[in-house]
């Protein structure tokens, strides 16, 4: 079976979850991803605890691993030789570290002008904060959404979603640059940052904030109580009798009210709520309190069944056990079962993109550190067995 990126050689110089996963996505779709581990400072590989290294088997799946000592001249030469063979480099290393090893874009492109050099930084390649560390919490703090997500009076919320946004932004940028290279032969630098990614996760609010009259900005800057939502049946949260939360997204209340009202036991013609204006303006708070009481009369399962029956745009808020057991998730391979040589059958995150002709596949679990050093040196760089033996004896690999 062919794969979308099976002619692409990717050098993975990453140390963080977000960008390691970018390289894994390219590998999932056929990219030949070679992960470089430096012998002087082997990267943390998830938890060192006993048991399944679930993190590595997600963010390093389908990759090969080479272990090289950059403290030795031959080791640094090997790194450069690898970079010269790469179609793509994915990195989140700080620029000075890359420069020291001649693995920065300018150095690599001097001999490999077609390289697509993808990097995730903390705050972008230019500007006063371009050198700040790539820590997602710092980036999230700067993006403006954190003080708006919680209930009033509660601490701000760090979601971690920004880092995941960066994962996909970088993959998109790199593949787009590869398409450009197909047409022109030209390589280039691709950059995303955790800051940009966090801003884009909050893009609707942020764009609204850019456009709104300055006098009205306050309402967008602070948390809004769930008991004060502007539309009682859209973006609203209500607890059910077993403590599970119900959420509704029914912005067009004229369309949904005739379905929702009988479901919660309110007369459709109840004159307190018989127009959009009454529901969302005049008697808004009364409706919120009415719904608060109604939803607490039955458990979450009751509401889910009712929502499903009526094809309503509403659902019950679940914990991770739900997707872990949801047949819909399994049918689409979003979570997959894998067979681990040491731990047997396990569930692991699967592939979020479906391609009919070249689907993502799990070809291998995360490699052991340095597992493929000899093979890569032989196949990609043309070293003989004797050369490799010598490099091993010298402690270069």
């Amino acid at each position: 079976m062919n794969a979308a990126l099976d002619d692409v050689i990717v050098l993975d110089l990453t140390s963080r979850f977000s960008s390691s996963l970018t390289a894994a996505f390219l590998a999932d779709f056929g990219g030949n991803v070679i992960r470089v581990e430096l012998a002087t400072s082997p990267q943390e590989r998830g938890q060192a605890k006993a048991g399944w290294n679930h993190e590595a088997d997600l963010i390093h799946r389908n990759k090969q691993s080479v272990l090289i000592d950059p403290g030795k001249t031959r080791g640094r030469e090997l790194l450069v030789e690898l970079a010269n063979q790469a179609d793509v480099i994915i990195t989140d290393w700080q620029t000075p570290d890359l420069e020291q090893l001649c693995l920065d874009y300018a150095s690599v492109a001097a001999t490999n002008p077609g390289v697509v050099f993808g990097r995730t930084s903390g705050f972008g390649p230019v500007g006063p904060d371009s050198d700040l560390p790539a820590i997602d919490e710092l980036a999230a703090c700067r993006a403006g959404a954190m003080p708006t997500l919680q209930q009033p009076g509660e601490p701000p919320v760090y979601t971690g979603a920004g880092a995941m946004h960066a994962t996909v932004l970088l993959a998109f940028g790199v593949v787009t640059a590869l398409v450009h290279r197909q047409a022109t032969g030209e390589g280039q630098e691709v950059d995303t940052s955790l800051f940009a990614a966090n801003m884009y996760g909050a893009s609707l609010d942020l764009q609204a904030f850019l456009a709104i009259d300055e006098k009205q900005r306050e309402r967008l800057m602070h948390p809004i109580s769930r008991l004060d939502v502007s539309n009682p049946i859209s973006g609203a949260l209500y607890p059910s009798s077993d403590g599970r939360w119900v959420t509704l997204t029914m912005p067009d209340t004229d369309r949904w009210w005739p379905l929702l009202a009988p479901a919660v036991g309110i007369d459709v013609d109840d004159e307190r709520f018989d127009s959009h204006d009454k529901r969302c303006e005049i008697n808004r708070l009364e409706l919120i309190h009415e719904l608060e009481a109604r939803f607490q009369q039955h458990p979450g399962a009751h509401w889910r069944a009712l929502f499903a029956e009526q094809q309503m745009s509403a659902d019950v808020i679940e914990q991770f056990d739900y997707p872990a057991q949801d047949p819909q998730v399994a049918a689409n391979g979003y979570i997959m079962e894998l067979d681990h040589p040491s731990f047997g059958k396990l569930n692991s995150l699967g592939f979020p993109i479906y391609m009919s002709d070249s689907p993502a596949r799990l070809r291998s679990l995360a490699p052991c550190i340095g597992q493929h050093t000899a093979g890569v040196l032989h196949d990609l760089l043309g070293y003989s067995e004797d050369d490799i033996y010598q490099l091993t004896t010298d402690g270069v690999i």
């Binding site: 904060d129 997500l149 979603a161 280039q188 764009q207 800057m221």
Partner: protein
């Protein structure tokens, strides 16, 4: 300026947010994106002029930004002549993208099989709610899908309601996921000459919004599914702290050296000499007491003063900024995360979100904001689809185009 996706033509048959965002990324990097809209009102997203009951600005920012750099053709696809026009577009396009349901698309004679029979090179992309397989086809909005992933339930203080990650957070993520899938399919098509069907669903994408925590759960860490209090985090040096003003996020390792700097920054000798906090292990065992002690100090201080002390001591930290800070943030402007664009509707430059990923030689551009409904219909009918003027008049007479 060179464009990465020069020469790629995209039929953008999408509405609301996720689908338009996906096509917006392709348009920003130079694809010719043609929005196909119903002549009666077009994309429903055109009607979104308010948010949280606030009228937002004097221009249609919701629609115009995610549909920037696009053309618009108005076609009534219920008419056979309308379908004929669309089929001709399919012959001449590289990508067909829709976020309508596959069942509805099939009913409109726009299934993958039908369109790839017309153009085998076509990349056919959908943004379903819950994936192409498994049979679930209930309504899918950002928040109702995010609810199912478990990502909301783990956020917030224990006992508090779950946390929604923000308006459009899931759609934006599904949009970039879809754009990545399309770019891969184009790359492969350029090598093999063969298109295919791809899907990036709202559910599939959003399951990845909490990937580190969901993956830990799948490996047996049941706690990762649950809300955890900031008052009980294992490393008190990596935590949010209140001040009299903004909250601060301290991001430091739990070492004696970093703790000493923190004590110094807080100006509190009691903390430094407290035996309960004398080692890394002691600090993580007495985390609740330490966090409470730090809270007691920071909550009375002004954010300005604490920030200056943190800075002076070289502690890694950030204030928790508001949107008002972000839109003034020099770092965001210098990196083109915000840009300016001319808005026809109000005849002036407006501020828009820019490019979150940049390509050095083909950097992406914002040339025009979203099109007026059907503004390019006649031109596309003539230049791209090569209809004679008489034929165009006939299509108009039959109501296939306005």
């Amino acid at each position: 300026m060179a464009k990465a996706l020069e020469g790629i033509r995209v039929i953008d048959f999408t509405v609301w947010f996720q689908g338009p965002v996906s096509a917006q990324y392709l348009a920003d990097f130079g694809a010719e994106v043609i929005k196909v809209e119903n002549p009666k009102g077009g994309d429903q997203g055109r009607g979104v002029r308010s948010m949280k009951s606030l009228a937002i600005g004097d221009w249609n920012q919701y629609f115009l930004v995610i549909n920037r750099n696009k053309k618009s053709i108005a076609i009534d696809l219920k008419k056979p002549e309308g379908q004929e026009i669309l089929y001709r577009m399919v012959e001449k396009s590289d990508v067909f993208l829709s976020n309508l349901s596959p069942a509805l698309l099939a009913k409109m004679n726009l299934s993958f099989d039908q369109l790839s029979a017309i153009n085998p090179r076509l990349v056919y992309a959908t943004n379903t709610g819950y994936g192409r397989f498994g049979g679930v086809s209930k309504p899918s909005f950002d928040m109702t899908v995010q609810a199912l992933t478990g990502a909301m339930a783990r956020l917030g203080e224990p006992g508090q309601p779950p946390i929604y990650m923000g308006m459009g957070s899931g759609d934006a993520y599904g949009g970039i996921m879809s754009a990545m899938g399309i770019a891969m399919a184009i790359y492969q098509r350029n090598r093999t000459g063969k298109g295919q069907c791809i899907d990036a669903s709202l559910y599939g994408a959003q399951l990845y919004l909490a990937a580190p925590y969901l993956q830990a759960y799948l490996a047996g860490d049941k706690k990762s599914a649950l809300q955890q209090s900031r008052k009980e985090v294992e490393n008190p040096l990596w935590n949010l702290y209140p001040t009299a003003g903004k909250w601060l996020y301290l991001c430091e390792e739990n070492t004696d050296q970093r703790f000493a700097l923190l004590c110094n920054a807080l100006g509190d000798d009691g903390l430094a000499s407290d035996a309960r906090f004398a080692s890394a292990q002691a600090r993580s065992e007495n985390n609740v007491a330490l966090i409470a002690a730090i809270d007691a100090i920071t909550s009375g201080r002004s954010d300005d003063q604490l920030l200056a002390e943190f800075e002076r001591n070289g502690l890694v930290h950030s204030p928790v900024n508001s949107y008002a800070d972000v839109v003034e943030d020099e770092q965001a402007w210098q990196n083109n995360y915000f840009m300016k664009a001319y808005c026809e509707e109000v005849k002036r430059e407006v501020d828009v979100r820019g490019l979150p990923v940049t390509l050095s030689k083909t950097p992406g551009e914002v040339n025009t904001l979203g099109p007026q409904l059907g503004q390019d219909t006649e031109l596309l009918m003539m230049d791209l689809l090569e209809y004679e003027w008489e034929q165009i008049e006939e299509f108009k007479a039959k109501g296939a185009i306005p």
